[in-house]
Amino acid sequence: MVKITVDDRELEVEEHLTVLEACIQNGIFIPNLCFLKTRHHPHASCRLCFVSIEGYDRPVTSCTERVRDGMVVKTNTPEVRALQKSAFKLLMSLHPCHPKICPTEKPCLLMRIAKHIGVGLNPKPLEHIDRGLPDLVDFGPLYYVPNRCVLCAKCIHTCRTINQMPLLTFAKRGIMTMVAYFDGEQNTSICANCNACVDVCPVAALLPKSAFTSSVESRKA
């Protein structure tokens, strides 16, 4: 066990933890989208979990820093918030927020983060980017909603861990990067009974087809 201080609170935590894990265990919320306990190596892609640590000249991602005895962590300095807001606005410039039709349980993780760091759910002053992607992509038994996806890769990791083979992967580059599905009969049968990716998705970018049709119908009605 080591002692660390987070926002003037003293915590005693296990040594092998990352700062993010230690904070989560102790009920301190740090915005994050791509953190998964089962990942051995932090994905570190959402760039939201910044904290400032004494001795470092700039904020660092807390999912990649291991705790050390005597570490002094601040989760809400202006520098930290500035980076978090910037990253959040970037994400929101691709993610159209329509709370009424979004099947996530409210408040969703994005809403929670927005409230925590004190910004709205719009990308202002940035403009919304329309990538010309389809609303839905057919993933066998699932639908993928590329415009909602924040590319946290939780689905890809979970799918690989559970099925011991890749059914989901990244495709394309740059702003067009999206999740893709290895189509095939065998995959479809594995996929139909799993839903692990759907459960782990923080923004409802993956939906079982059955659930989706019912929600569409209910909206129509």
Partner: protein
């Protein structure tokens, strides 16, 4: 070690003697030798045809001459080059430039057959002599200090014997007789810094690799050169592959690796072929493979062809790609040197870094330190492109100023234009203005100026370049090449690009400048890997050094360099336009030019697509076409009524 050491040295000496004898024999009694540069740049300039013509002419004239392909001399502006040795004439080896098929035929006829060196085509002599001015008196040759490129363009990359005859692989022989720690000490003392861009001390990396406890370690040579306008690694591989292999072997011996992988872009087919051939040759001669030169050190070298992703030059993404995954950077630590490809400790070095190693081992750390600056010893290799007179590959001592490099070595700006900016370090580097011309070229000075050494790409721009447009160009590149993993790089660069796009189209708002600055700063701080962290550099530096250009675009809707299409217009100066001349009319692809009432020409602004063809077509004596920015400066001349009627009919 004592016995083994002598064995290795004797074995090498015998081999070198044998090779030298063979080469002497092939040279015969004064048979002329014609060396033709056959690297990618030369082939693009027509070297294959030149070589064929030379061979055909030699055959048809019934003379004897050996035609040997060589790599690149670095003088890409003068390709294809040939170097002719004709010992019987008493002339030194002579270099001819821009040798097309016709020149090739003439040179063979007059020099090889009639012993007259065709002076009108001579570039210079390759050695000091009293008959022909040597090339070393040219600034392009004279200012250079060559270590890595010493033999480039002079030896046949397809024949290992030429490299051995010049003492090649002797550094490996020397290394094999030393303890690995001694080699690492020497490299560390030499102060050699990684030439891939970051400038991490190579010796320290090797030592970290050495201290890793693992059965198997891997050395990776990073030849995934992706910067637009950079071609140093390609040229070095195509010109002197064995020097690189020797460096790789020494590195592998020093760190204790048994496998080496050369990660080279598939877009470099000639480099892939050259290095593949070189590996086979080196194995045949016992410099690679099992029990190298009879020692107990073995090394297998493989080639891995990258499939064209810029981000795969980043070491963690490169390793992912070798393992068969999508090339996406991973968070470090663990560093590759701790856990790299297939979980083994992996030492990743750039082509240039490894190519320095043989010279350092042979000539010592002190010699290496005597070149360059205190903190950046050795030389820098730049591929210089853009608006300079003599573009190409240059190797200069570190600490040389940008002014010397651009104006003395590369002959200054082409077409009598003025210097405006230089982009160093490719899309990750920065644009420096003329205020930085006296900056010495070394890792730290360039970083301080906001640019970076990068891998050594340098784009020189003249007064006609619009810096907003240049920043937009580089952002367009990084945005497309982002792997899409982290938020800042994936989405942030796209926003930067969109804003720059708006500004170059004249739709920029005042607050866009603030957003640009803040977003660029956040991307630099927040991104996961080196690509993202450096991607906004062109924006940051151009905002810092060319802010007035941004202001002109945003506030006055004016492009000072007259580059941005939406912000410029062409018109015809009626005082200069000549009656009866129709040159511009024929050149216009959209029929925007009409005849005025005064029988002169004018441009219909609503039709003009601003291609500039009319400006090129207008005869020099008239010089009547003007380009202006903002477009409102162009006088609007109504199309005469009758023409409208004609059109309608």
């Amino acid at each position: 070690m004592g016995e083994g050491r002598k064995d290795i040295e004797d074995r090498y000496k015998a081999l070198k003697n044998k090779v030298q004898e063979e080469l002497e024999k092939e040279k015969g009694d004064g048979i002329p030798t014609i060396r033709v540069t056959m690297s990618t740049c030369a082939r693009a300039a027509g070297a294959e045809e030149t070589q064929k013509v030379i061979e055909d002419t030699v055959a048809s004239l019934d003379v004897t001459a050996r035609v040997i392909p060589v790599g690149c001399l670095g003088h890409c502006y003068a390709e294809p080059l040939i170097i002719v040795e004709h010992p019987q004439t008493g002339f030194p080896p002579i270099c001819y430039h821009s040798v097309n098929a016709g020149k090739a035929r003439l040179i063979v006829q007059s020099y090889i057959k009639d012993a007259d060196p065709a002076f009108e085509y001579v570039m210079g002599a390759m050695e000091d002599n009293e008959l022909i001015p040597p090339v070393t008196t040219f600034p392009r040759f004279g200012f250079e200090e060559r270590i890595v490129m010493a033999h480039c363009g002079r030896i046949n990359p397809w024949d290992i014997r030429e490299y051995i005859a010049l003492g090649g692989y002797s550094a490996l022989v020397k290394a094999l007789t030393l303890e690995p720690e001694v080699i690492i000490d020497e490299v560390e003392r030499s102060g050699l810094r990684g030439r891939g861009g970051a400038g991490f001390p190579a010796g320290r990396k090797w030592r970290l690799g050495r201290t890793q406890k693992a059965d198997r370690k891997v050395v990776i040579c990073n030849a995934d050169e992706g910067d637009p306008g950079a071609y140093m690694d390609r040229t070095i591989i195509e010109s002197n592959p064995h020097q690189l292999l020797e460096g790789i072997a020494i590195c592998a011996y020093a760190v204790g690796a048994d496998t080496a992988i050369i990660y080279v872009r598939a877009e470099y087919p000639l480099a892939v072929k050259t290095i593949g051939h070189a590996i086979k040759e080196a194995e045949t001669y016992g410099f690679l493979g099992n029990n190298i030169l009879g020692s107990d050190f073995s090394l297998s070298v493989r080639i891995f062809q990258g499939s064209g992703a810029f981000v795969c030059g980043e070491e963690t993404a490169l390793i992912q790609s070798i393992e068969g995954r999508r090339g996406m950077p991973q968070h470090r630590p663990p560093y590759p040197v701790e856990r790299g490809v297939w979980g083994r400790p992996t030492i990743v070095n750039n082509v240039k870094t490894l190519s320095y190693v043989p010279s350092i081992i042979n000539q010592g750390a002190d010699w290496f330190r005597s070149i360059g600056t205190e903190k950046s010893p050795g030389t820098a290799i730049f591929s210089i492109v853009g608006n300079v007179k003599h573009p190409g590959l240059v190797e200069i001592a570190m600490g040389t100023t940008l002014r010397t490099l651009i104006f003395d070595i590369c002959g200054g700006i082409a077409n009598k234009k003025a210097f405006k900016a230089v982009q160093i370090g490719g899309p990750s580097g920065g644009c420096l203005s003329d205020a930085f011309l006296d900056t010495p070229i070394d890792f730290d000075s360039l970083t301080q100026a906001g640019a970076m050494m990068g891998s050594g790409g340098m784009v020189v721009m003249d007064e006609d370049s619009c810096m907003v447009d240049v920043a937009r160009y580089f952002l367009d590149f990084t945005q497309k090449e982002s792997c899409g993993k982290c938020t800042f790089c994936r989405i942030g660069t796209k926003h930067l690009l969109d804003i720059l796009d708006r500004i170059t189209k004249g739709e920029g708002q005042e607050e866009d400048l603030t957003i640009l600055e803040n977003l660029a700063r956040d991307i630099k701080q927040g991104s996961l890997c080196g690509l993202g962290k450096t991607a906004p550099n062109p924006v940051i530096t151009s905002l810092r050094y060319f802010f007035d250009e941004y202001v002109a675009h945003v506030r006055e809707k004016r492009c000072p360099a007259l580059k941005c299409r939406s912000l410029t217009a062409y018109y015809i100066d009626l005082d200069k336009c000549a009656r009866g001349c129709e040159a511009c009319v024929g050149s216009c692809p959209v029929e925007a030019i009409f005849t005025t009432k005064g029988r002169k020409k004018a441009i219909d602004q609503s039709k003009c697509v601003k291609c500039g063809e009319c400006m090129t077509a207008c005869p020099k004596e008239y010089d009547a076409v003007r380009k202006v920015s903002p477009p409102s400066l162009a006088p609007i001349i109504e199309r005469p009524h009758e023409e409208k009627v004609k059109e309608g009919a």
